[in-house]
Amino acid sequence: MPDAVPALEARHISKTFGELEVLRDISLVVNPGDTISVLGPSGSGKSTMLRCLNFLETPDRGQVLLAGEPVGRRADGRLVSDKELAKSRARMGMVFQSFNLWPHFTVLQNVIEAPTKVLGLSKDEAVARAEGLLAKVGLADKRDVYPFALSGGQKQRVAIARALCMKPDVLLFDEPTSALDPELVGEVLAVMRDLAKEGMTMVVVTHEMGFARDVCDEVVFMDRGVVVEHAPPAEFFGNPKTERAQRFLSRYA
């Protein structure tokens, strides 16, 4: 399906923080149902790139398109209103490294907040949807618990359920396992693996090489703010073309 409209596309994104050029002319195409891993050393700009996709960071130049429609900035370059940006964001879920659950809400309240307040679902509809998702991530019995009583892995699975409850077209993951104790990484990756299998469109910034190799359809390798390589995982891991990628991979061998 080469002529299908990409689920998400970034065109020539650039971003500077003061003097520092964090992203230089980044382009990215995510086809519907694909899972893309973004790899790279820390400081390579991969998180900033991800955050530009839903305009948590405003790119200085370039365009983001969600199913062909501009996000955050009109074709003429003007920024869209808060309301319009919120509408685009509601269609893209995001999962953060530090979970970012709302501590004053129970697990269930965390999951149904946006579906009821943003999508306008009735409470019953939202609760039914949320309970299904909590069961799916293995946390049905935690629905009335406050986040402080959860482990890191459980928090992250709630955060995934929170994002899924919006029925997003795309899910963005910003190093979702980097803040977890090693023995808790597996439970979060298992949920992400299932989502990929079900055909969820995902962009995953990660250091989990196993996940990138086994689950993803494509690997994007970034270094110093540019996309250095862009290949299917078998090719990237088996036969990296650039010296930079080879060096990066040798550290994980």
Partner: protein
């Protein structure tokens, strides 16, 4: 002290309680508006609020109450002593509360706001649903501390003739020629008022404790 004098004492205590209560109940939300307005980055307004907060915190209560009571009639606004007293305490406590609200606002975890933005919530909803409930809990000890300070500083408004719990002790000793008993009694009543406020704070904190481990 006889029954009449005890009645005078209690009436003074009541004056202190209700004047302080109005100032606190009004000064907490006014402080929120001032504190947020100060950091909102609105040209001119934010600077004016910063100036107001600095002046408000630096002005002694006695000066402020005299300024209002004597000054406002000069510009044609008539004001009675009690109104001037309430207004003084309210305007003063609001400037301190503004700083408390500002600091809890500025230290609010950025990630929670981003999580709300990422699911498509807009500024108003994020503030109301996510930030304000948590900011209130974080601000509570500071606000309550300021409220107790206000009660203890409230005798300043007696300078324009309001007979509060402190001023009434003068009146009583003028009748009994025994200054010590009413002063001790007033001290005990102040302690009871403050103890009640601290108890209230405990109750509110306990309600929040179920989510702030």
């Amino acid at each position: 002290m006889t029954g009449t004098e005890l009645q005078m004492l209690l009436s003074g205590a009541w004056t202190t309680v209700w004047i302080s209560a109005i100032a606190i109940v009004g000064g907490v939300p006014l402080g929120l508006v001032l504190g947020l307005g100060r950091v909102a980055g609105i040209p001119v307004l934010s600077q004016l609020l910063a100036l107001y907060i600095s002046i408000g915190r630096a002005t002694p209560l006695v000066t402020l109450v005299l300024l209002l009571f004597v000054g406002l009639p000069v510009v044609g606004i008539n004001i009675d002593a009690v109104t001037a007293g309430v207004l003084t305490l309210l305007l003063n406590t609001a400037t301190f509360n503004a700083e408390i609200w500002r600091s809890v606002y500025q230290s609010f975890p950025r990630g929670q706001i981003e999580a709300a933005q990422a699911v498509g919530m807009q500024k108003g909803a994020i503030f109301r649903r996510i930030m304000l409930p948590q900011m209130s809990v974080a601000a509570l000890p500071g606000l309550m501390n300021e409220a107790t300070l206000l009660v203890k500083a409230s005798p300043a408004i007696a300078v324009i003739g309001i007979v509060d719990l402190t001023r009434v002790t003068d009146r009583i000793s003028a009748r009994t020629y025994e200054p010590l008993p009413p002063i001790i009694a007033a001290g005990i009543i102040y302690m009871i008022i403050i103890a009640g406020m601290v108890r209230l704070q405990r109750v509110l904190e306990k309600r929040a404790a179920k989510w702030s481990a």
